[in-house]
């Protein structure tokens, strides 16, 4: 692998939790290491509480690691930065701003002003197919549209790495499938590196170049997905033998993870 966009080296995270006047130490991550290459899509999958979201939040800079190194694009991660864009689980658009203004929000903070600001925001709104909804406020958008704006907002600041925290988890099956397809198209066009957290097995296989299966705060297995890229029609892919085989491999890894947990 030539260049690693993301490298997670021996990262641990311990939370202090106060239970009945006693401080309990909860180990959320135990020396987790993985790399993500340029333009690669890596999904983190595992049962809830396995540390996948914690890993993503540390990568984003919203949490700090108790030990270990996190590098993005050759730089040590210290807090949030414009080299990373985060897509939240429930979009988290600012309800008082229109779709367009929500995208402009991040760009403005990055220092963009004037005509360029609006044009750029509009271009990214167009990228997610919502040009006609520019002036709608979040409550006037469906769940899928909100998440599209969320993706556009994160992409607009042109980050090195796009981080996604179960972004399609709360959507209905049809909307989820069309957004998965759109995400792959957008990635093919923008060549973004993506780290995607999910608990959905199909989603992990459909999107990823590699799947990191996590369990109890550590990496259980890293599975390379040998499906062609571009993935083409996802419906056809779902019916293919290769998809079923890969899915089974990941399922077994997850199953193992669960068994050892109980």
């Amino acid at each position: 692998m030539s260049t690693n966009q993301v490298s997670f080296t021996d990262v641990s995270k311990v939370f202090a939790l106060r239970v009945d006047n006693q401080v309990q130490k909860i180990s959320a991550l135990k020396s987790v290491s993985f790399e993500v290459g340029q333009s690669e899509i890596v999904t983190l999958i595992g049962p809830s509480g396995c540390g996948k979201t914690t890993a993503l939040r540390i990568l984003m800079g919203l949490e700090t690691a108790s030990r270990g190194n996190v590098m993005v694009a050759g730089k040590m991660v210290k807090g949030c930065g414009y080299d990373r864009g985060l897509v939240f689980q429930h979009a988290e658009l600012l309800p008082w701003l229109t779709a367009l203004q929500n995208i402009m929000f991040g760009l403005e903070l990055k220092g963009m002003r004037g005509a360029e600001l609006k044009d750029t925001a509009m271009r990214y709104l167009d990228l997610v197919g919502l040009k006609d909804a520019a002036n709608r406020r979040p409550y006037q958008l469906s769940g899928g549209m909100k998440q599209r704006v969320g993706i556009a907002r994160a992409l607009a600041i042109d980050p090195e790495v796009l981080l996604m925290d179960e972004p399609f988890g709360a959507l209905d099956a049809q909307t989820r499938e069309s957004l998965q397809g759109e995400l792959l198209e957008i990635q093919a066009r923008t060549k973004k590196t993506i780290v995607f957290v999910t608990h959905d097995l199909d989603e992990a296989v459909l999107l990823a170049d590699r799947i990191i299966v996590m369990r109890g705060g550590s990496v259980q297995e890293i599975i390379k997905v040998d499906l062609p890229r571009p993935r083409g029609d996802l419906g056809t892919l779902r019916g293919s033998k290769e998809f079923a085989e890969t899915r089974y491999v990941v399922w077994k890894a997850l199953h193992n993870a669960n068994e050892q947990r109980h």
Binding site: M60, L62, G79, C80, G81, Y82, R84, G85, L86, F88, H90, E92, L94, P95, W96, F105, G106, L109, K110, R137, P138, Y139, Q140, I157
Partner: protein, 277 residues
């Protein structure tokens, strides 16, 4: 055998089936009817009461017309409103930023939160003589009393509002590397507007009461002055005039704040839209 599926044509989304759209009585009509009933009942039963101990709407209206013609009511209203507007305006200017800061800073909250909560319950009537000693009998003391009554509900509501801002919205700001001040101004403040507006509305009633109290205790003037002078002359109908004026004024101010809220935070009314208004 492989599973089979039979496609069925989807029905058109536009239906020509008859629907009844429920027609509801508008809220303002209900309110008007309610007010008319109460005034009617007061007029009917009030006429039987000795005019020293009570009055009724038509007598109050006549007394009000006399006061208006003599120019006394207008002058008193203007005197009262000056103190009211200055005190109330200051309470918003001071209260909102203070509430935002206390809500955002753990240190400030621990250091001065307790004073704010205690001061909210302060028996202000008892403190007016003390304020008179400090500030004299003029305009300053009136405006201060209004300010002190109005500022705490605004601070407390704003403070509670800040505490209720979802953590994830703050993280949106952080993820775009926003400074604390930017997060306060561009995320916390707009997210807190419904709470701020509720505080500003609560403060209207308290500020009106404060204004009258101040006019009782200080230089007898303004609407409070008319109340106390009329009461001393056993002119009950005349005494009720400023009382009614103040009640109407508070209701109008509340409506105005509500209107401003719908203008500055239209998303809020839409999001929490109640069925049937």
């Amino acid at each position: 055998m492989s599973p089979t599926s039979t496609p069925i044509a989807a029905p058109s989304a536009v239906s020509d089936e008859p629907v009844t759209v429920a027609r509801e009585t508008p809220a303002w009509m209900i309110t008007t009817l309610s007010v008319v009933c109460v005034i009617g009942a007061w007029e009917f039963f009030g006429r039987g009461v000795d005019p020293i101990f009570g009055s009724y709407p038509s007598a109050i209206a006549a007394a009000g017309w006399d006061l208006l013609k003599s120019g006394l009511l207008g002058r008193a209203l203007w005197q009262s409103m000056q103190a009211f507007l200055v005190g109330y305006g200051l309470s918003i200017i001071v209260g909102v930023p203070l509430g935002l800061l206390i809500g955002r800073s753990r240190t400030l909250e621990a250091a001065i939160g307790v004073f704010i909560t205690a001061a909210y319950a302060m028996p202000l009537v008892a403190l007016v003589p003390f304020l008179v000693l400090l500030l004299g009998l003029g305009f300053a003391v009136k405006a201060s009393v209004v300010f002190l009554m109005a500022v705490f509900p605004i601070v407390i509501n704003t403070w509670l509002g800040v505490r209720a801002v979802p953590k994830t919205l703050i993280e949106v700001g952080k993820s775009f590397v926003a400074s604390d001040f930017t997060i306060l101004r561009r995320i916390v403040l707009p997210a807190t507007i419904p709470y701020i507006m509720a505080g500003i509305k609560l403060a209207v009633g308290r500020a009106v009461v404060a204004m009258v109290i101040a006019e009782f205790f200080t230089a007898i003037s303004g609407l409070g002055g008319i109340i106390i002078n009329s009461a001393n002359n056993f002119d009950t109908a005349r005494m009720f005039v400023p009382v009614i004026v103040l009640m109407v004024l508070a209701t109008l101010l509340n409506g105005l704040v509500g209107w401003i809220e719908r203008r500055v935070a239209p998303w809020q009314t839409e999001m929490s839209g109640r069925d049937g208004g």
